[in-house]
Symmetry: C2
Subunit: 213 residues, 2 copies
């Protein structure tokens, strides 16, 4: 099947990696079919949303049968370009950066952190989670030219200037874990995850939406 993926709603696109991971687990456990209700229970997305999401891909479950796990899995693998590895660099090998480097992304994923940068001399020249750490001063010479994605786990005051350097080197997307809001051209995509905001948001919801889901 050939479809124009830019027609898929972004909210649907965001859920694809989640579906993919769960289908991998199902497949590994030998399960051959799955209902939207089972999927719903496992991934915590309501089953009407799952059915709508899947309909964009022409994957229409049969009543009383559900979805074929192998078919879905091979379809998602292609859709998510699982066969093509995307190179990622990481800037900032502190606790959070180290957590990322030890996280085994390649197991369930099509991304690979190939190189990391820091300014701490004691880390330069070492490997963390199998990834070599270089000095940030050498970013321009050592960052591979075909790297589209950077993970930013540096102190907030350093974030913007590093971002400017990354963009000059051709980065297309940044996973920003700093509290800083980054100024970038429209062509650059930023996904921002701010730990303090996530925590505060959860507290706010608990206080004001207690009992709703």
């Amino acid at each position: 099947m050939n479809l124009d993926q830019s027609k898929i709603p972004q909210a649907t696109a965001k859920r694809l990696p989640l579906y993919y991971r769960f289908l991998q687990n199902l497949h590994a456990s030998g399960k051959q079919r799955v209902s939207s209700a089972e999927l719903s229970d496992a991934v915590k997305v309501d089953s009407a949303t799952i059915r709508r999401d899947f309909s964009y891909f022409g994957a229409l479950g049969k009543k009383g049968y559900g979805y074929n796990v192998s078919y879905l899995l091979s379809f998602f693998r292609k859709t998510l370009d699982q066969d093509e590895v995307t190179k990622v660099i990481l800037i900032g090998v502190g606790n959070l950066g180290t957590a990322f480097l030890h996280y085994n992304f390649s197991k369930n994923n099509n991304t690979q952190i190939t190189i990391a940068f820091d300014v701490d001399e004691s880390k330069i020249g070492t490997e963390v989670g199998g990834v070599p750490v270089y000095h940030l001063d050498t970013l321009e010479e050592n960052m591979p030219g075909d790297t589209p994605v950077a993970i930013l786990t540096v102190p907030a005051p350093a974030a913007q200037s590093i971002t400017d350097r990354l963009i000059k080197k051709g980065i297309k997307g940044i996973l920003n874990f700093t509290p800083a809001r980054l100024n970038v051209p429209d062509s650059i995509r930023i996904h921002h995850i701010d730990l303090a905001v996530e925590l505060q948001s959860l507290v706010y919801f608990l206080k004001h939406y207690q009992g709703e889901s």
Copy 2:
């Protein structure tokens, strides 16, 4: 002003901590008023959305003047219950957990991590980021009874059984950083942040929505 906060749309509620943080910075720098365009540029939310969000609070900017920073700030402080500290516990003092414990939440925030748990004997009895670490086996006796929120930064296979124990002890919300999808009663709120899914989602967007914002 007294308003029923459960009437605020959840999408709006999610942006409140972001607005609050930026207004604090503005106020600290001595700025007395701010336009929705300036706010928009700083927090990366379009200005129509900001105006609509603020209108839920009756905070209506004046044309050519904008919003009064002090008023907004004191209003958000009350709305977000900044004067009331919410206790948080953290389970799993690995790299990610340690990053959380070193993150100075209390500076911009109304939350405080009071105690952490792990199973690594070398960590038990130490303090990380000023927070004491106890053995997970003693969760039931050492977790303060009035703790509504837990941060879960443990290996995925341990997540569900720890969640069950937390719920028995009265936890209301969990910030889940493990890849595991947790089964909980409807009354428990889970915010799930999966590092691999975040990274994969960014890669997917780069490939299929290039150039859109």
